[in-house]
Structure formats: C-alpha cells, structure tokens
C-alpha cells in the first residue's frame, strides 16, 4: 500500500453563518469570517493503493488532476461558495464542511485506490482533515 498526495488550488469567496442564528451570534461564533471575504485554498487529496507493477504508479498524475478538476475545482474555483455551490446554500462553508464535501466528491474518484484523506488549507495557518466515516 502506497499513499499518493496531490495538491490542487482554488480561490473562492464565502462568509460563515449558521442559519437560525442572529447576525450578532454569527459574528460572535465566526468573528471577522462572518463578513464576505475570500481565500486561496489548497486541496491535498491523498489516495492509498497498490502501484501498477508495469507503470509503478497508482494513477497518472495528469489523469488524477483531470478527475479532481472535473469533480471539485471546476465547481469551487472563483466562485462564491455560499451562492454558487448547492451544498453551501444551507450549510456553512467552513473549511471543515468543505473537507467533508470534497471527500464525497472524490471518494470513488480513482479506480483501484481508496481515498485516504482530504486536507484543505484555508490559509497557511489553518487546515481541516477528513478521513471519511471509517
């Protein structure tokens, strides 16, 4: 078993709020993140699998990029997460929820390899990790 991690990048705007909380309570929970702002996100997708004995690879990286771009980046890059992504019209677009969302999109992305971890950096000092329900 070998772990392969690929980084991809997207930039998006969002604001954090929980439906049903007052504006004041949202500001208390999320601080300045309750205002509309944006990030350069870094997505690290880690897959676990056996390298193909002929190629020595779990998956060709450009094939992996194409899959992740198609399933995730295209939907998130240069978007307003709360307006443009159906999932976050109702749920808060925290980095934690984003990690779970990306997991669902990539879980079965690579034939023959399992998704091991989704890590999303919201800024150089904050990241969320999700390993699935396992």
């Amino acid at each position: 078993m070998v772990f392969l991690t690929r980084k991809l990048y997207f930039s998006a705007a969002h604001r954090l709020r929980v439906e049903g909380l007052s504006e004041e309570e949202n500001r208390r929970v999320f601080g300045e993140c309750a205002r509309l702002h944006g990030h350069n996100y870094v997505l690290e997708a880690t897959f676990a699998g056996e390298p193909d004995p002929r190629t020595g690879m779990i998956i060709h990286l450009s094939d992996l990029d194409a899959i992740v771009r198609d399933r995730v980046i295209r939907e998130l890059d240069h978007r307003n997460l709360d307006e443009d992504v159906a999932e976050f019209k109702t749920a808060a677009s925290t980095v934690e929820m984003l990690a779970r969302y990306v997991w669902k999109r990539l879980e079965d992305a690579v034939p023959g390899a399992g998704l091991h971890r989704v890590r999303i950096w919201e800024d150089p000092d904050s990241c969320a990790d999700y390993y699935g329900e396992g």
Partner: protein, 149 residues
C-alpha cells in the same frame, strides 16, 4: 445528519527565549546534554505552535471548534506564556526545562483543560527551527510537568 469526525489544525507563531539548563547537572553535564542550547544567557526562536482539534461536524454545528475559542486559546492562554517571554520562567513553575518535548506537553495540559466537552485535542506540535519539531498526542504526563500549572 450523522456527525462525522473532522480534524482542524490551527497554527500561531510566537517569539520567545529559552535556555536548556538542568540545575541538578554540572556545567559539563549541561553542555554535554544540551550543546549550544545550554548557553546560560539564553537564546531564542520563533516557535510555531500547531493545535489539532477533533469533533463531529454536522450542518447544525458546522465547525470542529468555535473560532472565538481558538482565538481565546492562542491570545489569552498561550500568548502570555510564549509570546516575547522567557520560557524558563513563563510557565510559572520553578525548574521548568523548556525543551520542545516539555513544551508540547505543557501546552497540551493548558489547552486540553480549557476545552468544552464536545471538542477533543488531537495533537500539539511545536516547530522550534527548520530542523526540529515536536508532537504530542496525549498520554502520560510526568510529574515534572506540574511545574507548568
């Protein structure tokens, strides 16, 4: 919706001085044990403190830990001890030896004791230099760490 466990890591950097000097050692033993870190006059680093929290996340509770709690931990609990301080005395105990190994455990004790019940501390990591970092994921805390109370 079932909650699913997510980890959130948040980092902050602090500038602090310390020296590694064990009073029960002779001068020679201190230099042998701690090398250049045993300069009695002290030296300093920019310490990067990374805290990893874990909690189940749901649509109704879309975060591992409230961001105002994170701010309180870094600004109110850790900054007074680590930001522009002398780590040999800033943790309050006499004889606290501020190695990276002791720092991660002292920080663990402070942070874990301040958390609400629905949040777990998963890991404390301290990056001391480009070459050194220390991680602690919980477990037995030796008696000497009571110096950091």
């Amino acid at each position: 919706m079932m909650g699913s466990m997510v980890h959130l890591t948040v980092a902050r950097e602090y500038d602090a001085a310390h020296t590694l000097w064990q009073p029960s050692f002779s001068r020679e033993e201190n230099y042998r044990a701690f090398g250049e870190c045993a300069n009695p006059a002290g030296h300093g680093h920019r310490f990067r403190v990374e805290l990893t929290f874990g909690a189940p996340v749901t649509a109704g509770r879309p975060f591992v830990i409230r961001r105002d709690s994170v701010r309180r931990i870094f600004d109110d609990l850790l900054a007074p001890r680590i930001d522009r301080t002398n780590l040999n005395t800033a943790f309050g105990g006499e004889g606290f030896l501020p190695t990276g190994e002791n720092l991660v455990r002292a920080i663990w004790k402070i942070v874990e004791g301040s958390l609400d019940e629905d949040v777990s501390l998963i890991r404390v990591r301290v990056v001391e230099t480009r070459k050194n970092s220390f991680s602690y994921t919980g477990g037995h805390l030796p008696a000497v760490m009571t110096a950091a109370d």
